[in-house]
Symmetry: C3
Subunit: 682 residues, 3 copies
């Protein structure tokens, strides 16, 4: 985000505002209420395409002009959206190519949102035109702090235009049809192609029998890539159109955490900053929310991000929509900031009265005044953010631990038919993340393209696909003293989902020093077991049956015909070590494993707290910001020493919300859902 | 129903008879068996369109002529159907416009029944032509007691003809596209329309993601209305064609209880009398069956109705088809009569030998003779009905309690995305109904257009939608001394599903004297609790968090952050009172609540009986008919005083089946599934 | 299978080999490994159509030529497939008629396999052309032991070509549209047809509301027959094309056990021998596997069959894919041989590296060498099979008990709407089979066309449909001294699914000596009970309520209003007896029932063993081969006398794998999963 020069930087506060849904006469009262709540930024124009463009020729920006003037007059920043998240009805009628065809091959009609075919010539033409016109028209508004292209991009299309574009994409990638045949292994089931035009989109009418079930992983995997690229291309075309007019205003689009259809790591390269929408369900594990923030922060190598949307109180689209308990909204806002957010924004400023989101929470409720619990909580947080000021902005997170996350791997491992169709990449990653998070060990999410050299420990759960060169990168990392942890079902395939022959884990065999001979899929309910540091843990889902080569077995199966064969191994490899965990265990195991390993590797927690109190740190120069977040329903009390990232005792500690100095060693009492933010000078 | 002048009126007995499925040589034996069973009415010609009309030009009524003569000769009444419940195969082939397009957008082919598009020009043309021809041809048959148009109308169509007709319907209703945009709130998600032709049908290809899940409630709601109207229009066109020839014969179509797709309250205005098909599943709560009868009776303001179909023994289309235990068919027949039926009719007289209903029960089973348990039970009831005679015909039900039921509200509340997608209107209504029914409190079902002035107590469960003027009607009712009970999630929207701003429960705020600030959706399994008259009850699903304004809180939540805030309130409003129940509780609570309230309001049970014995009254002049129905598997024994509706001791009591006089105070013993019908003279 | 004259017959060992998926440079190593494993037969060319035929004109057999030469040089037999199990992509693009339309009416695109419309002119033309070309080209290879047409035929098509062909099929079968109307009972729901062209395919767009749910059983039943016939016709056309060139080589296609869509009893008439693919899931009841083998053996009246596919270790397509425990593959291989297999073959020789089957087991794993558990187990079995030699080939099974199985009945009983949609023919049959199998009673599966005269006991579970003349056959069987056991819901309909009127069980009424008046469908969880030989057993799902006529009731219901009415009856009918079991009970009952009955009928077990040890016999001249298979995880120990089929003490007993003589009476110890094969000379 940029901060216009006349404004003091702080964590901006606000969110989606849709005055176009209301009589103009109500706007001034909205302004009063929003200022009262401490709001300083408004996301405008998210869904106005149909009203801005009346037909092929005629555009009408008059109402948006009035809105822009209104909010400028009242001193609000603007995050200006391009409105291309839903196309106009008239356009769908006149140019049906803009409509998607779904996974079942059904041509859709006008309706809902996220509804445009990414390869529609009409969509590309008119979305880019609109983005350019908006940029040209409003370029002089210095209260625009960011552009917001479209909204929550997603989904997929399987229409004829996409089919043709897919062939072009393939031709560009593979050059010859022979190479396509090779990488898709089309000799299997006689799928040999002689011409790119013989290739059809993989959906329920062709290769698929379910969303994840496909006869040809290679085709489906490439289509996932192609679809992500196609939608990204739409984004980039708007991006370029805007940059022509406003080079200095950063551009983003709001992402959605672990959203499988779009390769956000690739997308982030084309985004000036990352922004995302956080909608935890009631009772969601705070570690899950934290993990999503960490993934988002990792998309641009640790650069701070925008929390673009969250609900002030309640969602409407879940089966059961519980309201956020008192202080939970504040707690989750600070959790976002702790993990790297530089904004606290909401969907939405004011509840709509019609359509499907009318029961979604907002600062201004249907009652229309400020005398609600939710408004008051929003207002209190708004005031606090003014007090907090801009110190935390752009502060970074420092971690000694990285988890590898890779979208291609996600797609590939879940398209796999066998050894177990219940394998879910997200679930495996979360088991590893949570074990670290609950010990307050800071974790970065990195991609296979990231620099690993600054980490002590790299964790690669379910690294089924090892892309060209990534095995080398891991070897370098370990050679130089790093510690690597890899889970079962890793090292199986290359980037085309073709198995690396010569024994699993393929290209990781040497580094891990093992050979996995067989993979046993355990029937739901069955389990094996193993001992680790004197305790017994279960082995579930998949059990790799393996042989050590150079590695040393450190734990063994206790049952079945592979009793006493290794389940966890450690391979010393030059200056470092590589661990292999050959099965899925339970959270207690991962906790014990990382507790022990981090102790060995001298990786310290951000802070020692009582259970349920999350400790997160951001660093900026010689200032460190320690966030202590009480996620429990009880008051928590614990002793703490305010140390720096480098484990030195801090020189000074200040409670950032009260501005009071704190003792460097002290006992802290945190009310349920309460937050303490301490600035530590190093 | 009309009774030809030469016949003594009685509860007619019979049902669907399909001789066209059999060799003519078998017909005479059928006549013998049906007379033996005491049958006096036959529903004919339900599915014969294809055989009556051979192509565009040629009709052949010869077989129907023979059937009409046959049954006339044997002295049967006829309920004559128009056969338009399934169109001919040749017509589907020649005029595909008659075929429906389903919710997924798939054009259907010929098959099954209820298969005609209601906006098909072909269907309308030929169905009306057939109805007219039938009326003209058989108008002189004075044994026709009623016309039966089509059969179990239902379903929906989403074809292009419907799409066009929908636009016409909208134009007629809203006049301008601007008004459509307003009532559908199309500024949301950029759905602004410029032309009616941009509007497409709302289904899985456009606004919907599931049957109830829609992005635009307004569109979906109007389509539900349009679909109900379209089908009703088909009915009315046939109705008019028939009336041209037989003004005096009443016309009906068989309804199906709580059938959501058709607004039966609107339909009933075009029906000379209501008839319906009652198919309780095995073990269904007798209160549910009773509730359906009461809904049906309420459609025409308490006018008696026809039980058009029930099975004598077994259905075939349920997962598990249990046979009705001995005497259950009789019990359920009298339950229908008790709640307002003037007929006892079956599907069917004789089991078919092919197709999907061949295992559906009938008076004449596949064995073909009378020596079956089922035949003998039918015969016994047939004889009893002759004994019973015509005294109960047209007798009415008197109730001091009314429950509001509204189809628009049903559609709207279940289309709502949030606060809980598990909300079901039927379930909420049943909780309230059952609490009254199990105390033998007589209940009328009324619509929002009904006159409420004769009731002491009006109950409006889940009155989410408050239509124009209905808040005024409720206020008048309470002002004049009535008592109103409203549940949570009420008063939220107007007839367009647009939220009434200014605080929930919107237009009911003043009457109820409360402000509901928030609605908490409880995760499945979670519950809060409250105390009522010294007992604790659960609060589930949704918890309204509210403030009393003029109302007095009479119960409070016991947990969570809204502990000690009101959950049940009572507002004294001029001469009456308005209660608000801010959550869903369990059956025991509703029982206690209404027990207490009815005592206060002096609303007495129809009779005091032991549990499981239902007491229902019909009144005609100075005669009252008290039905005592034992739904338990045990013998029931209880003391009773035969009082009148006005709580006076009756002058005389007669067992209507034995014709024996009974003491005015007596102890009654009822065998399992047995029935006692007592005539009380007032 | 034929054995080329220069080779000694033995159980051939091998399976699917797809060298076309690999570089040619790897082929020689494959040869070494396969010979090392003891493989002697390779199934080739299963999925190569696209590579063999490049366009309408150009065929290229050069690679297949090299493969054929390679395997010939190395002395392998060949089972040569025609490759028509998946059509080429170019063909689908050029001739879309080859693509299927699915049950929902969706035209499919190119993808997956089993993808050709059986009535596609293109498919028929080019598949037959290819089969002929292959036969002509390779006819001189005397190592071809069998032709393998297509692969695992299955599925169904609902396209316009099929619709037209269906009408032709109907016209041929029924001659007139009046007869179609009669057998489909179209008077019901007004479905009268005037022209064959009015008939449309029965699917989700017409008569069906689910796979089994149909409004017109007659149409759906005929379509099932038509679809099976259509696919069979494709097979037969290829068959004829091959026979032109290689009269002496037997032809087969690989079946799939209880595969409902294809009437294998009809198919088998056109197969020179039966072959099938056995894929038990982990933990599958050995009795189920045995039952499938017995069904397959019965298809050609007991002629031995080929085990065409099984996995050496693991499948990939199940939810959880457990590996076969040590020795289980060997155990299951011998189980197949015990039940009539003359081959032991695998899918597959070598794991592919791409697409959906890359995690399916193979003899040669991804590691590429022989040092795996699986390879070693395969090798050990390969060696054993050489030792075993050819003695068991063509040996037959002798059974005194037959179970009737009929595909038309399967379709009809599961299309039935009522009395219970949870009825499954397979499940009912298995209950009866298992009771016999677990007592080591040998069972043949026979069709309604089979000769029953050699059996003592015939069991007909759920014989809902009694085809023309089959009641006579059963009567003859019983008259001549046979014993018949029939279950509930039998004798209901004729071959058109039209009910036989006059009382259930229709045409079996006289033979069974009973009249079933009503059928009670029990709600899930409900049960009745009855006593048999002093023990109580449950009655579930359906309870027939019946009257004995000539039969004698031998057990009675214990509850409900039909308490003390018969549930099991026995009718003495001339020299034999006919039992009727009027409900579904539990496995313990069926065990007790058949234990008692077999004792009465002097039907002896194949051998008395401990539980979990299956005993199966094959007979060839005066040699008998007794297979003792330990399916338990424990060592089993039991005393045995080696008797012949005729209950005589054998003259000599030899352990066929060790060639050692064994005492005629002895105690046997079998390790878990171990097998003993004893040759007994009579």
């Amino acid at each position: 985000m940029r901060f216009p020069t006349q404004k003091e930087p702080k964590i901006v506060y606000g969110g989606d505002y849709n005055p176009e849904q209301w009589e103009e006469s109500t706007w001034e009262e909205d302004m009063r209420l929003l200022k009262l709540a401490g709001v300083d930024i408004l996301t405008l124009n998210v869904f106005s395409w149909a009203s801005l463009q009346k037909n092929d020729e005629v555009y009408d920006f008059s109402r948006l002009d009035r809105i822009m003037e209104l909010v400028k007059k009242h001193g609000f920043f603007v995050c200006l959206a391009t409105s291309t998240g839903a196309h106009p009805a008239w356009m769908a009628r006149k140019y049906p190519d803009i409509l998607r065809t779904d996974f079942e091959g059904r041509k859709r009609k006008f309706g809902s949102r996220h509804n445009s075919c990414p390869n529609s010539p009409t969509y590309r033409k008119y979305s880019v035109l609109l983005a350019g016109k908006l940029a040209e028209r409003y370029k002089t508004y210095d209260n625009i702090t960011a552009w917001h292209i479209s909204n929550e991009y997603g989904g997929a299309c399987y229409c004829e235009n996409c089919e043709k574009a897919f062939r072009v994409w393939l031709k560009k990638k593979y050059k010859t049809i022979e190479e396509v045949n090779r990488v898709w292994d089309t000799a299997f089931w006689g799928h040999t192609f002689y011409d790119f035009d013989e290739i059809v989109v993989p959906n329920l009418l062709s290769e698929h029998y379910s969303e994840n079930g496909t006869a040809f992983q290679g085709i489906s995997l490439d289509y996932a890539r192609f679809n992500s690229d196609s939608i990204l291309e739409c984004y980039k075309l708007e991006y370029d159109a805007i940059k022509k007019y406003t080079k200095e205003i950063p551009i983003t689009t709001n992402l959605m955490g672990f959203y499988k259809p779009l390769d956000y790591q690739k997308w982030a390269r084309s985004m000036d900053f990352v922004s995302w929408d956080s909608y935890p369900y009631a009772g969601e594990d705070p570690a899950q929310i934290a993990m999503k923030h960490d993934l988002m922060r990792g998309l641009k190598d640790g650069q701070s991000f925008a929390l673009m949307e969250q609900t002030p109180s309640v969602t409407n689209w879940q089966t059961y929509n519980a309201i956020k308990r008192p202080n939970v909204m504040r707690l989750q806002s600070y959790q976002a900031v702790a993990h790297g957010a530089d904004t606290v924004m909401f969907f939405q400023m004011k509840r709509s009265i019609g359509s499907c989101e009318k029961f979604h929470g907002a600062i201004i409720d249907h009652v229309g005044h400020e005398h609600t619990r939710v408004f008051q909580e929003c207002k209190r947080l708004g005031q606090e953010l003014f007090q907090l000021g801009g110190e935390t902005l752009s502060a970074v997170t420092k971690s000694k631990v990285a988890i590898i996350f890779d979208w291609d791997n996600w797609w590939a491992v879940e398209y796999s038919t066998g050894p177990c169709n219940q394998l879910r990449y997200y679930d495996e990653v979360f088991l590893y993340y949570k074990a670290l998070h609950e010990q307050n060990i800071s974790v970065d999410f990195v991609s296979v393209e990231s620099d690993l050299s600054n980490y002590s420990l790299v964790v690669a759960p379910l690294l089924y696909m090892v892309k060209e060169g990534f095995d080398q990168k891991l070897k370098e990392f370990v050679k130089n003293g790093g510690t690597l942890v890899v889970s079962f079902f890793s090292g199986i395939v290359d980037e085309h989902d073709l198995v690396t022959i010569g024994g699993y884990p393929g290209k990781l065999k040497e580094l891990l020093g093992i050979w996995v001979e067989e993979i046993d899929g355990l029937i739901s309910g069955d389990e094996n077991s193993f001992e680790f540091l004197g305790k017994q843990y279960p082995a579930k889902l998949l059990c790799d049956i393996m042989h050590t080569i150079q590695a040393k077995a450190i734990s063994f199966y206790q049952k079945d015909f592979y009793k006493n064969t290794p389940v966890i191994t450690k391979n010393s490899y030059e200056k470092g070590s590589a661990y292999y965990i050959g099965t899925r265990s339970n959270p207690a195991f991962y906790h014990a494993f990382f507790e022990n390993l981090c102790r060995e590797l001298d990786i310290s927690p951000t802070a020692l707290t009582s259970d349920h109190v999350e400790a997160v740190r951001r660093v900026k120069g010689d200032k460190e910001f320690l966030f202590l977040l009480n996620h429990s329903k009880q008051e928590e009390r614990f002793f703490i020493q305010f140390k720096t990232y480098n484990e030195n005792i801090g020189k000074e500690a200040v409670n950032m919300l009260t501005k009071e100095k704190m003792p460097i060693e002290t006992t802290i009492t945190l009310a349920p859902n309460d937050v303490l933010i301490v600035k530590i000078n190093s």
